[in-house]
């Protein structure tokens, strides 16, 4: 029997040897060299380093696939259509795929490893998503818990977005968060100026990103954002529009309204803006101005619980019920297109009401804040 420290040295030595073997093996065995990823049938070809997941490799190439879980295979958002070279569907992906996706080759890009050349298909809009560095130019207090942040893109860059889309804002590591997180916020500014964007953000108690933006970010600080994302934008038809939004859900509507003004869009449109108390109301003047600038636009703020003693001459009640009453009086309720933005609860009940009134689901567009 040898003394304890020699025994420890022997065991540690074997452990170190095994670790070194593994490091060496990883260099040699897991070295897949460079692989080529063909995007949209030759539209774009990228030579990338093999071995990593498709998601992380694309991100490194500045192609941003939406993902909420950071590549752990638990959110199911990072779906990408792989035409060739991904191998069979893994058990870790199966729960997120329906029959159609299985047969058309949709995969979770965080689970697909780059071992050989790949052919993938991406929606064109994902290719326009870029990362930008911006400078916080102005912070405006709208209410006690809602602020507007104006971010100017650096280096004279412009962001080409469709009014209604959103961006992701990066909250860096700071006192209260040990990791970087991305959160999505709709663009609210006038799309005529694409060199800067405005975001209307409501504070989430203990939220990592809103706490950073509300308590730590100062005018002049740099903010990293990427985008634009999303399918929430005004469809090019002549159907009358009903907008329903709650709280900071007004943001994409404001952007869409700016654009309607810029393009002299004279579609019939009515905007029901739901808030809890009169203290939650903001942007009312701006909206009233749209009423004069747009031929057929009407703004209806709806307060659900006016505080006792508050002077409120406007509409009181649940925003969804008020919108329902309005549509019933129109006679042509089923011809409307519905645009919804706000809390999941508000969206769900609005969808229910619009469907009940004969608006089909493909005419209802929404952005859910969750």
């Amino acid at each position: 029997m040898v003394p304890l420290f020699i025994a420890l040295a022997i065991i540690s030595g074997i452990g170190a040897l095994l670790a070194a073997t593994l490091v060496f093996a990883e260099r040699v065995i897991s070295n897949y060299g460079d692989v080529e990823v063909d995007i949209n049938k030759g539209n774009k070809k990228l030579a990338m380093k093999g071995g990593g997941s498709l998601l992380e490799t694309l991100t490194a190439q500045k192609i941003f696939i939406p993902s909420a879980c950071g590549g752990r295979g638990t959110c199911g958002y990072c779906k990408v259509k792989v035409l060739e070279g991904a191998g069979p569907l893994l058990p870790t992906e199966e729960p997120y795929m329906d029959a159609e996706e299985r047969s058309s080759g949709v995969r979770l890009s965080c689970q697909v490893k780059l071992r050989n050349d790949l052919k993938i298909e991406l929606p064109a809009e994902l290719l326009t998503i870029k990362e930008y560095v911006s400078v916080c130019e102005e912070i405006i207090d709208y209410t006690y818990d809602t602020k507007q942040f104006r971010l100017r893109l650096t280096d004279g860059q412009h962001m080409k977005y469709t009014p209604g889309q959103y961006v992701q804002v990066l909250a860096p590591q700071y006192e209260k968060s040990s990791e970087e997180v991305y959160r999505a916020y709709s663009i609210s500014s006038d799309p005529a100026d694409q060199a800067a964007i405005e975001l209307i953000i409501r504070r989430v108690p203990d939220g990592i990103c809103t706490t950073y933006l509300f308590d730590y970010l100062k005018v002049g600080d740099k903010v990293r954002i990427n985008g634009p994302y999303g399918q929430f934008y005004l469809r090019d038809t002549t159907a009358p529009i009903i907008f329903i939004a709650g709280g900071s859900g007004i943001a994409p509507m404001k952007c869409i309204l700016h654009n309607m003004k810029n393009t002299n869009n004279d579609r019939r449109a009515v905007f029901f803006f739901g808030i809890r108390t009169t203290k939650d109301l903001f942007l009312a003047e701006e909206m009233t101005r749209f009423e004069t600038q747009l031929a057929q636009f009407k703004f209806v703020p709806v307060v659900s619980q006016p505080e006792p003693g508050a002077e409120w001459a406007g509409v009181t009640g649940r925003v969804t019920h008020i919108a329902e009453d309005y549509l019933r009086k129109q006679g042509n309720a089923h011809e409307h297109e519905g645009y919804l933005c706000g809390s999941p609860g508000m969206i769900e009940s609005s969808i229910g009401i619009l469907k009940k009134l004969g608006i089909t689901e493909d005419k209802i567009y929404y952005d859910k804040f969750s």
Binding site: I10, G15, E26, I29, Y32, L90
Partner: protein, 200 residues
């Protein structure tokens, strides 16, 4: 010992490990993945093969480590740490290798490998090998047999659980509850093998 009786001796160890001394149903090792990955026969077979493979090879590696490192220096008391390290390194290495060279095998086996590193049946088999003072051939037979026994048990369990999907089970017993009861009944059934072989 003649070759014939030697082979007989080895096959007794092998079959004892599979049936009479089943590492799962007689020793209750490797219960965690047994309970969680036994919903489908297909995945149970995959995990089963992975266990057979890893157990056979790690018991061999552990035998060499024990015989040529731990015993000569008289530091057998370090076997727990050393065996675990060897198992973990081996599993990592195999995962890397089959991911690179055999995508088909990786798809069927590889995704289960990380589950195995922490499967106590693997470490258990190596420790039994030490306690029973097996030589190399005996150790390999025992490792392969234990793996096969574990696979037999999990595949049988998965077969039963697939049938259970059509059974009406009281709410409080659904999931792990009924699975544990079945494991107990299976263990009772395996007691029937006791005395058939005397190698364990």
């Amino acid at each position: 010992m003649s070759l014939g009786s030697h082979m007989l001796h080895l096959s007794v160890i092998l079959f004892a490990a599979i049936f009479t001394d089943n590492i799962l149903l007689a020793r209750f090792l490797g219960m965690c993945s047994f309970l969680s990955v036994s919903r489908q026969v297909k995945t149970a077979v995959g995990l089963g093969f992975a266990v057979v493979f890893v157990m056979t090879f790690t018991i061999t590696l552990d035998w060499f480590a024990y015989r040529f490192v731990l015993q000569p220096y008289g530091i057998e008391y370090f076997r727990f740490i050393l065996f675990i390290v060897i198992i973990a390194a081996f599993v990592q290495f195999v995962e890397m290798a089959i991911e690179r060279y055999s995508p088909v095998l990786y798809h069927n086996l590889g995704i289960f490998l990380p589950l195995i590193t922490v499967n106590c049946a693997i470490l258990g088999a190596s420790l039994f090998m030490v306690i029973r003072d097996y030589n190399l051939a005996e150790g390999i037979a025992f490792g392969f047999g234990s793996g096969a026994g574990w696979m037999l048990a999990i595949v049988a369990m998965a077969g039963i659980r697939e049938r259970l999907n059509n059974a009406r089970i009281p709410k409080g017993l659904q999931g792990p509850g009924i699975t544990l009861i079945i494991a107990g009944i299976m263990a009772l059934a395996f007691i029937g093998f006791t005395g058939v072989l005397s190698g364990g």
